[in-house]
Symmetry: C2
């Protein structure tokens, strides 16, 4: 119960610095309110991480039934595309951060002009919102990327394919390919994609026509023949403190993250350190605040190329909830509040995360019970979402000394929950 | 967003088993709603543990500003002593459990009669509510306890003291003690106490008069000259699965838990196993469901005597949040839902919990920032409560291989947050 003796402005959990003259203190700085835009699972898990931190968490959610909205006390239901809604929401907050990249850049600038700290700020966030802006900036920093170009029509794509083939010495071969491009090209809408939506691999002018239909600028990239995908995750605070998590391997199935292995098996130390340093450098150059995932392609000859940037908690960091001293969610909150960051080091030799996708059966509760019985060490993270085929509805984490065992346990649980393993 | 195509009864997150004829399934068992009575920090941390489990958490809180109420979506504000309020609250829940022991036993029986699962049930819970009932039952089970008796007045206490002294052969010595009792006696109100409130050590008839003033029955106990206090925590589910956490040492200062060390340093294996077996046996005999802490006295000659029982998450189990594979909070939820229990084993060689008590300074935010900077591995758990001198407002957990270091880090952070260490 609130103290009746203390003046209201001195209650521990109030926002904003206040004067505490009654006690003779010059200034009392109190526990802040973090506002997160977006009601998905990332916000849900950020709230979970914020409870022990003692901060207040405020949510702007599209509906009252969104994943995070089911678990948070202070929920504003509204549209993140509407500036008036955002302003109303921000009034109760000490800082604004994000569950997704979809808030229009100009709205973020308006909030900043209102004096609300927006973290990451619009100048950083735009590199996670717009793949064209991101590529241009990484080029200027000399960071290795797939060859790329903004394209306007299928003819542009064909020209780009020819150039790539030329540079790779693959021209002759490709020209024989049945009036198709000499090499396949990856096309991406620069904004709005996720989980592979907004990404196409095209081999002909006809196929290349599809992405342009959305009316969004399109980025063409060489199709990298990568050995595997990695992710380097870092967290940076406004005053410049930064930490790097171990580099992980991220296994995608059908454009969706399926499994993450921490640390990436067999990755040479110097390659790992290079990837971490690169991620830290990008965070600094772009002025990132909070968690950033740098999605990477590892080439067969051991180089890394940047695929894309995400400036928020990210699927490739879910393993940290059970596998690191400080989770990505806790560190994201600490960063946006400019608090000292927590130790990012792993707690186990190996940690594996496997996403739980919805299957054909709308209920998971019996499968969930079975998984708990089979593996008492399993860490299940459900998002409270309706099951729809292919939708991310949860994930599991496993950890231990034996990678094969740790992988098997994660894959089994995720498969069983989805219904693809019945045992 | 909720699917508009699926009938409402089939949404994953709804309560109760429902028929799903539209999909042709015989029955869909869905994620349940757990109702917790009491808005304190134990409910707050249980909610935190329930988020990844995907369950819905409903809270009955005395005020909208209670520790848990600040973090939970679904809060009913009301009085747990009022049966109509409890009934209203329970209507939305699949099971009812507790943050404290203060709900009247007859109300719990009424809820059970309404068909609501109450876990732990009233027949078990009464042993944590009433120290007299608890002592009588442990006697009948042959479990070692301090000598004790229900007393009606100071004369009764004097007679009890004489008997204890006699049995200990301390009579002659004590009789010389200035018209006082030959040995000190511990008096406890049988109901309503916590954190040492409701416990007195008395040496004279005048002192012994005080506890009777509350009008509650009083239990007299010999004052055990213990070497230290231990706690054996177990979790049991309705179908009888049970797990035991490592036995911990609990250091009390002024009747309040100050530090918990897991596992209890230097405790011989056979003594630890005996204590665990005793706790498991008590849980079974009493039909406990959920987490139970058995508070113990270790005598100088290596026996253990039961001090009291708590049937809910307990301060001596807070270390499990960061130090065990499955926390007491997650396992309490799994137990009350009759889900398979999680692994109780420790993740680190040593884990230390230190309570953060309020100091004279009403704000903790700057101290909190300092502690994070000093120790990036520190795990802080704040309860969102107003600071009042001596009030439990949070705790910290530390872990590692070197006990002295782990203890120092926990003690430093707790002392710094309280303001007793300024460095
Ligand atoms: N240039 C590329 N070469 C090869 N594969 C690619 C390329 N770009 C994307 N991909 C594949 O498509 C996936 C999704 O692409 P990405 O740009 O990360 O889109 P999203 O924003 O949907 O995550 C990547 O994880 C990778 O598997
Ligand atoms: N019989 C006893 N002998 C010695 N110390 C005792 C005895 N009973 C209680 N104490 C001390 O008082 C503390 C609080 O007593 P307890 O019965 O656990 O009350 P509470 O319900 O407030 O926790 C114990 O942790 C112990 O330190
Ligand atoms: Mg991607
Ligand atoms: Mg006690």
């Amino acid at each position: 119960m609130p103290s009746t003796a203390a003046p209201a402005a001195l209650r521990t959990v109030t926002r904003r610095a206040t004067r505490g003259d009654a006690y003779g203190y010059a200034e009392v700085v109190t526990f802040p309110v973090v506002g997160m835009v977006g009601g998905g699972q990332l916000a849900r898990m950020t709230h979970e991480a914020g409870i022990p931190l003692g901060i207040r968490f405020r949510l702007l959610s599209g509906t009252p039934q969104d994943s995070a909205a089911l678990a948070v006390r202070d929920v504003v239901v509204g549209d993140h595309n509407d500036l008036a809604t955002l302003r109303d929401f921000a009034r109760g907050c000490d800082v604004i951060t994000f569950d997704h990249e979809h808030v229009p850049t100009e709205h973020l600038r308006a909030l900043e002009a209102d004096g609300i700290p927006v973290r990451p700020g619009p100048d950083a966030l735009v590199h996670a919102q717009d793949k064209g802006v991101m590529r241009a900036r990484l080029d200027s920093l000399g960071v290795g990327c797939p060859r790329h170009r903004i394209v306007r029509d299928p003819a542009d794509v064909a020209a780009f394919a020819a150039e790539v083939a030329d540079a790779d010495g693959a021209g002759a071969d490709g020209a024989a390919q049945d009036a198709g491009f000499p090499v396949p090209v990856v096309l991406k809408t620069v904004r709005g994609g996720y989980d592979g939506k907004g990404v196409w691999v095209v081999r002909t002018a006809a196929e290349a026509a599809v992405p342009f239909k959305a009316g969004v600028p399109v980025l063409a990239e060489e199709k990298v023949d990568f050995a595997r995908e990695l992710a380097a995750c870092v967290v940076r605070s406004p005053h410049g403190q930064a930490v790097a998590y171990p580099v992980v391997e991220s296994v995608q199935v059908g454009g969706v993250c399926d499994t993450v292995i921490a640390p990436a098996p067999g990755l040479p130390d110097d390659e790992a350190v290079q990837a971490q340093e690169m991620a830290l450098r990008i965070a600094q150059e772009l002025g990132v605040v909070g968690h950033m995932a740098v999605e990477l392609f590892e080439t067969p000859d051991g180089r890394v190329l940047v695929n894309e940037l995400a400036m928020r908690p990210h699927n490739s960091g879910h393993w940290t909830q059970d596998g690191a001293v400080t989770s990505q969610f806790a560190n994201h909150l600490r960063a946006v509040l400019d608090l000292p960051l927590g130790d990012p080091r792993p707690r186990a030799r190996w940690t594996v995360m496997a996403n739980v996708l919805g299957g054909d059966y709308p209920d998971m509760y019996s499968a969930y019970r079975h998984c708990m019985a089979r593996d008492p060490q399993l860490k299940i993270h459900m998002y409270g979402k309706d099951v729809k085929p292919g939708r991310k509805v949860g994930h599991v984490n496993t950890y231990g000394d034996d990678l094969a065992d740790v992988r098997e346990r994660a894959a089994h649980a995720a498969g069983y929950l989805r219904g693809t393993i019945t045992e």
